[in-house]
Amino acid sequence: MFRSTPIIRWRKYQERYNLMGAKCEKCGKLHYPQPALCTCGSSKFIAHKFKGEGTLLSFTDIGSGPEAYAEHAPYCLGIIQLSEGPKITSQLSDCKLEDLKIGMQMIATFRKFYSSGEKGAIYYGTKFTPKW
């Protein structure tokens, strides 16, 4: 059974629920998630919320996923370039492999990530789905 401590996950709630990333105060570059250092070397960031729209750069399907996602399998996984620039790896909801095409428009959706077994906490966050 997959187990995970709620506290480590809790720190990432806003990042996951609302695509909260960061904007470098010095050079203005947008990051998701917030890194320790910007490519310009600065460590000063302000919070930035991404809109949740992007383009599908690459995708695959997962027949048997890691333990946490095993009960969700089969599912698709994709790399999405957000309209603001950064790339994000995300599970893709409400679609099968044959529904996907490189370059298609994707939108964010709020979904269940996994739960720590039957008694554990349930974790939620942003996934992407083909724009409709």
Binding site: N18, K112, A121, I122
Partner: protein, 348 residues
């Protein structure tokens, strides 16, 4: 006295459907007889990564788009459901964080079978009217359960709708003219703690339960407001199936034409706490300015909440700002019985 009303609304229905035929085949039942008897053809079910919380968040975000406000403005958030993912841990807290409502938010989950969402609208209305908050959000949302082979399996569906209430005149899309409730202790349908699926009292769920309360609340609100059925452009009654709301309408003197626009049950099933609220969101999607809408919910156990809304010009400006109920009804992918059970097993 200052008017309050709906300033934003949003629907969400999962993409997946199962046809009555696919369920009937497994249990050796006659699908045509069941479809005719229940007045529905298929029902919605959640994706494996959806539950009452995720349905609520999607509906809430659609409601914010129509209201044109940010989540931070929401002062209270109540979510009605009989399928809250946790027995103890509020759905409302997760949804509040997911719309960035901020720490200064009153929040709680409500439960009253299928009328927990309409009860939440009444709670929010009180807070807005008394000026304790500027805006409040009420959601009715469910991934309803039924035991395998039970008659409820044909109708127990998934979906939800969210409503934001406020009192800024130019923002109101539908004024709340009146609301009241009709409540009595009635053993028609229940689920004991730690049980995964509900029990129901068969035919007793009709006359002494649904009809008594829906008719009781509706007659009370008509009488208290000196209204008659012909004063309304639309009427929405809770939809446990496609038959009961039409029978209730007939007994009350409403026409099928007044009820049809909100009758989403025939295509998606009974979304429990989401049912009458999705009926209301479907009507708001198509209503014009200056129209009157009557809504009466029903929750087993039992009670009904009645509402009278009058739409404003502002409604027509916000209808296209988010996906409509019908967009979600039309977006669908069919699954077979075993896949349906797999999906449902994920929300227990």
């Amino acid at each position: 006295m200052e008017k309050i009303g709906i300033v934003g609304y949003g629907a969400y229905i999962p993409k997946f459907r199962i046809k009555a035929e696919a369920i009937a085949e497994v249990w050796g039942e006659n699908a045509d007889k069941i479809k005719a008897g229940l007045g529905l053809t298929e029902k919605s079910l959640p994706a494996k990564d959806e539950d009452t919380t995720t349905i609520s968040v999607q509906a809430a975000r659609n409601a914010l788009l129509r209201a044109g406000i940010v989540g931070k403005k929401i002062g209270a958030l109540y979510i009605g459901s009989e399928s809250h993912p946790y027995a103890v841990k509020p759905t409302a807290a997760t949804v509040a964080d997911a719309i960035q409502a901020g720490f200064d938010t009153m929040a709680a989950d409500t439960e009253f079978a299928c009328k927990a969402g309409s009860a939440a609208i009444q709670m929010v209305a009180g807070l807005v009217k008394s000026e304790m908050i500027e805006y409040g959000m009420a959601i009715g949302s469910d991934t309803s359960q039924s035991s395998q082979g039970n008659a409820l399996e044909y109708s127990a569906a998934s979906g939800g709708a969210a409503f934001i209430l406020g009192r800024e005149k130019k923002e109101i899309i539908a004024e709340l003219e009146k609301t009241l409730s009709f409540t009595s202790d009635t053993p028609d349908f229940w689920r004991r703690g730690l049980q995964e699926t509900p029990e129901h009292a068969g035919r007793f769920t009709g006359e002494p339960a649904y009809m008594k309360h829906v008719l009781g609340a509706t007659q009370m609100i008509l009488s208290e407001t000196n209204s008659k059925p012909s004063d309304f452009d639309y009427a929405v009654f809770h939809m446990p199936n496609g038959k009961f709301p039409l029978q209730a309408a007939k007994k009350l003197g409403f026409s099928t034409e007044q009820v049809k626009p909100g009758l989403v049950v025939s295509k998606i099933g009974n979304t429990y706490s989401g049912s009458s609220l999705l009926g209301l969101s479907s009507v708001l999607d198509i209503a014009k300015a200056g129209q009157k809408i009557l809504v009466t919910s029903y929750g087993s156990g039992s009670g009904s909440d009645s509402f009278i809304f009058k739409t404003t010009k502002r409604l027509e400006e916000v209808q296209d700002k988010a996906k409509k109920t019908e967009d979600y009804v039309a977006r669908k992918e069919y699954v077979g019985y075993s896949k349906y059970r797999q999906h449902m097993a994920m929300v227990v």
